[in-house]
Point group: C5
Chain length 80, copies 5
């Protein structure tokens, strides 16, 4: 699982139906690489989180009709 | 999920049957890396999109006989 | 899906049974990175192709007892 | 499977329910890249381990309601 | 599928039960990156092999209770 800092929400009104109204977050890793993840636990900008990728990211959603390849797994208490 | 800018359509007449007539797009990330994705929502060249990879990309297709490993998940309203 | 140029066939007589007699191709991307893919559509050296990775690569094979993680999805009409 | 050195436990009290109380470890590869993995075998800081990624990481958990994309597969006897 | 040169066996007595007694090999790619793979076909140090990753790696094992994310798919006859 990768470690990222939350940048903020991703505004995306025009979506694939499989994305539903899932809350999306822009994340940045230590080298500046950006990723987009589904956030079902409510993270805040500036927080460090770890993410679950692949089919496990999808299993983390309650509604099995929804799709994602990256979901936030937890907010890290202390990081660096 | 990764973020890309749409370059344009990919013309590919000679395909694996599992690709059907899926509309394909050439995408470029911020570092210039190119990828090919299925576009089921109708994105335009120059738009920034985020993509769904892996088995979730395939679940985003209505016809379960079709295959892909990358599908456009949404058009980003504002990016950089 | 990634874009590669076909280098040529991969000769590999000593294989895992799950590879069967699948035709294998050596591919090279724009930066010189090499990969091996199953080719079920008959690509030629020098052609540019795009590839399907992960579980979708396996679903692209007719015989479900065979395994792969990369299958050629199509020959690109024009590339660069 | 990748090879990492165990840095130590990851303290993360605010988690997705799918993470349960799984013990998490911060891992570092030879180039300094950090990853988070589930540790079900009890590794110690400083040990070199190899990790299982993807859907196999999840199958390594006894409770199928739990999710992960990286699980420690074994402690390497000698490394470098 | 990636191409690697076999470095040698990986000695790992303390394992996750899902690894069983699977024979493990340390592999090195052309840039020096190391990976660990299950070897069910008997490769020798110095040989060039190609590997199968992801869920296909697991399907390459006879015992479905065992897990891996990388399995050697074949020994390449000639390489470079």
């Amino acid at each position: 699982m990768d470690v990222f800092q939350v940048v903020g929400p991703l505004v995306c009104t025009y979506r694939h139906p499989g994305m539903g109204n899932l809350p999306l977050r822009v994340l940045r890793d230590r080298k500046g690489k950006l990723q987009v993840a589904v956030d079902t636990i409510g993270s805040n900008p500036g927080s460090w989180v770890f993410t679950i990728s692949g089919s496990a990211a999808r299993l983390a959603l309650d509604d099995k009709a929804l799709i994602t390849d990256l979901t936030i797994g937890g907010v890290i208490d202390f990081w660096e």
